[in-house]
């Protein structure tokens, strides 16, 4: 399986602006109430830049997933501000947030979250259908995107007919098809074997770095740390370290 050289997400890394994609300041989030309150995030400050692959790492329950949920606008923080490409989620209504998410954010999930009754091409077309692009055009564009992730021959396959790696490729194509500016990935390799996970990371890095967009990956898999441009280490709801040298973090 090869990724086509014809880059579907053209951008010049040299000219990439490395602008701030996400700016989180003083984010707190607690679950439960009273004596059962769990503080998931305790004053998070973090910047994610375009053209970079940022990893959020740390032990289970440290707040990684809560943080990307807030960054992606699918969860509201209790305090603090989270600004995505200059827009503060706090100032948006639910409807505005939903629409903004549909335009600006792509998602890749640990368990792929493909709709089992749709073919690969139809699954990839969903973000375009959400944006009211007609079905024929959407499926056509989805087909092109799938070719670019090496699945040009599996357009009509149902998710159940694909391997785990192939399903994650479909999910990546789905996250890219509408050309969002932020892609959030939750443990994208944890359901895959090492070799497949490595290839998936290559694909993600290629997509993120060749497009003027930011990529945030939540993981606790040290084998993929090398793919990161920056790693934010979290513990107990706080960012304890941000490193531009993933190799050091890996150690």
């Amino acid at each position: 399986m090869t990724i086509q050289k014809n880059n579907p997400f053209p951008c010049d890394e040299e000219t990439s602006t490395k602008a701030v994609a996400v700016h989180c300041k003083g984010i707190t989030k607690a679950y439960g109430s009273g004596s059962e309150t769990v503080n998931a995030l305790n004053g998070i400050n973090l910047e994610v830049r375009t053209g970079e692959l940022t990893m959020l790492v740390g032990p289970s329950g440290c707040g990684k997933t809560t943080l990307i949920s807030i960054m992606a606008g699918i969860l509201d923080q209790d305090e603090g501000d989270c600004v995505l490409f200059g827009k503060n989620f706090k100032s948006m209504s639910d409807l505005e947030k939903t629409r903004y998410r549909g335009e600006q954010v792509g998602f890749v999930f640990q368990s792929f979250n493909l709709i089992p009754t749709l073919t690969a091409a139809e699954n990839v077309a969903v973000p375009l259908l959400i944006r009211r692009i007609d079905r024929k055009t959407a499926v056509q564009k989805a087909g092109e995107t799938l070719k670019n992730v090496g699945l040009g021959d599996r357009l009509n396959a149902l998710p159940a007919q694909l391997s785990g790696g192939q399903q994650q490729r479909v999910a990546i194509a789905r996250s890219l098809v509408h050309e969002p500016r932020l892609i959030v990935c939750d443990e994208p390799t944890s359901a895959l074997d090492h070799e497949t996970g490595f290839r998936i990371m290559e694909l993600l890095q290629y997509a993120a770095l060749c497009a003027d967009r930011a990529l945030v990956i939540v993981t606790h898999d040290p084998r993929i740390f090398d793919f990161a441009d920056r790693i934010a280490k979290m513990d107990d709801g706080r960012i304890v370290d941000v490193s531009d040298s993933p190799q050091d973090m890996g150690k």
Partner: protein
């Protein structure tokens, strides 16, 4: 997103078929039970329908329905004829008598006695012979179902099919000889007894001796006369009850609705269909939504608005509702065709289809509401939970 909604629904074959079959079953049960109920109710006033020539039925004020005979004196006929606006008024006898068959058995029959001169109220359809044949001595006309059924003769060869009563055969009614002069077709009666038509004078001869024998007076209004106003006038002048054809049908239905357990029994069956349909379809549809909650969450996270998700669920509910309704109503119609010539009462007017459509819509709305509530409240962050 309509496309995604439909594929999500039909892709899960087992659930999709479960929901459709649940709705089809409910639709069939509701339509079929209502159609049988309507058929039965129609039978209660079948005789009024067959006697369509009369505009007004005059009777004792205590009569509650068409089979509730409270005889009047013959002079009530003349009093009715004297009311202004009456074109004609004729006597009608209706009674349950015992007929002795050729093999010695007795069978209860409905005897209808028509005005000797005009034979007004004669059978709506003559299959053999003519109504005028009633003028022959001892003549009676027998309905075809009764002739082929309860009045039929045993075959001379044991084990062979019974022989239908035919023209020329004889019966004995209250020690009076009656000779079959014709075979007619009438609306099925509620009691399912054979119907025998004869003249008024002969019917009163058949009937046990009583001072009063006149069952009804059939009245025709003069052209241009307001039938309801005439009925009120007859009532005022004679002190009898006078109903238009439709009023008499309504009176009869009201009696059966109020004093018999029929509506309750059928109502229970219809309710059962509704509840079973709601339980099966509602529960399966809800479980379908629950199973797809992660996908709805994914769609929500990817930017699908609540309004679009609502539209998707409504579309899914509408789709299964329409298919289930179509299958159920189709099956009920086929059932109706199958039982057309049997004892089973079945009548399917378009109004019943509307009632079933409303019932199925309610089931779908109920099923969809449960799912909509769940999806609307869904936190999109669910997508990151494994």
């Amino acid at each position: 997103m309509r496309f995604v909604a439909i594929k999500m629904l039909v892709g899960d074959r087992a659930k999709y078929l479960g929901i459709v079959m649940g709705l089809a079953f409910a639709s069939f049960l509701i339509t079929e039970q209502l159609a049988i109920f309507t058929g039965l109710m129609t039978r209660t006033f079948g005789f009024i329908t067959d006697t369509a020539i009369a505009d007004i039925w005059v009777m004792d004020p205590k009569v509650q329905f068409v089979d509730d005979i409270k005889p009047m004196q013959d002079m009530q006929l003349y009093r009715t004829r004297g009311v202004d606006g009456v074109e004609w008024a004729v006597p009608l006898y209706k009674g349950l008598l015992k007929a002795k068959l050729e093999n010695g058995n007795y069978q209860t029959v409905i005897v209808i006695g028509l005005d000797d001169a005009t034979l007004i109220g004669s059978p709506p359809v003559m299959l053999k012979g003519q109504a005028a044949d009633l003028r022959r001595s001892e003549a009676v006309i027998v309905d075809t179902v009764g002739a082929a059924g309860k009045l039929s003769k045993p075959s001379p060869v044991p084990g062979q099919k019974r022989i239908p009563l035919a023209i020329g055969d004889t019966l004995e009614i209250n020690d009076n000889r009656a000779s079959v002069a014709g075979i007619c077709k009438v609306s099925r009666t509620f009691q399912s007894q054979p119907v025998i038509y004869t003249t008024y004078s002969r019917a009163t001869t058949f009937a046990p001796k009583e001072r009063k024998l006149l069952s009804f007076v059939l009245v025709k209004a003069k052209p241009g006369e307001d039938v309801k106003a005439l009925a009120s006038r007859i009532k005022a002048v004679t002190g009898l009850a006078a109903y238009t054809r439709d009023e008499f049908k309504e009176l009869t239905i009201r009696y059966y609705m109020k004093y018999t357990g029929i509506p309750i029994n059928f109502g229970m069956a219809v309710l059962l269909g509704f509840i079973v349909g709601t339980a099966i379809a509602g529960q399966t549809f809800y479980s379908f939504t629950l199973e797809n909650l992660r996908h709805f969450g994914t769609l929500k996270a990817m930017g699908t608005t609540n309004k679009t998700l609502l539209g998707m669920i409504v579309l899914q509910a509408l789709m299964v509702g329409s298919i289930g309704y179509g299958l159920g109503v189709g099956a009920a119609t086929a059932f109706g065709k199958l039982v057309k010539d049997t004892e089973l009462a079945f009548r399917l007017p378009w109004q019943l289809l509307v009632i079933t459509a409303v019932a199925i819509s309610l089931i779908c709305v109920f099923a969809a509401l449960l799912s909509i509530r769940k999806v609307m409240k869904l936190e999109p962050a669910i997508v990151f939970k494994t």
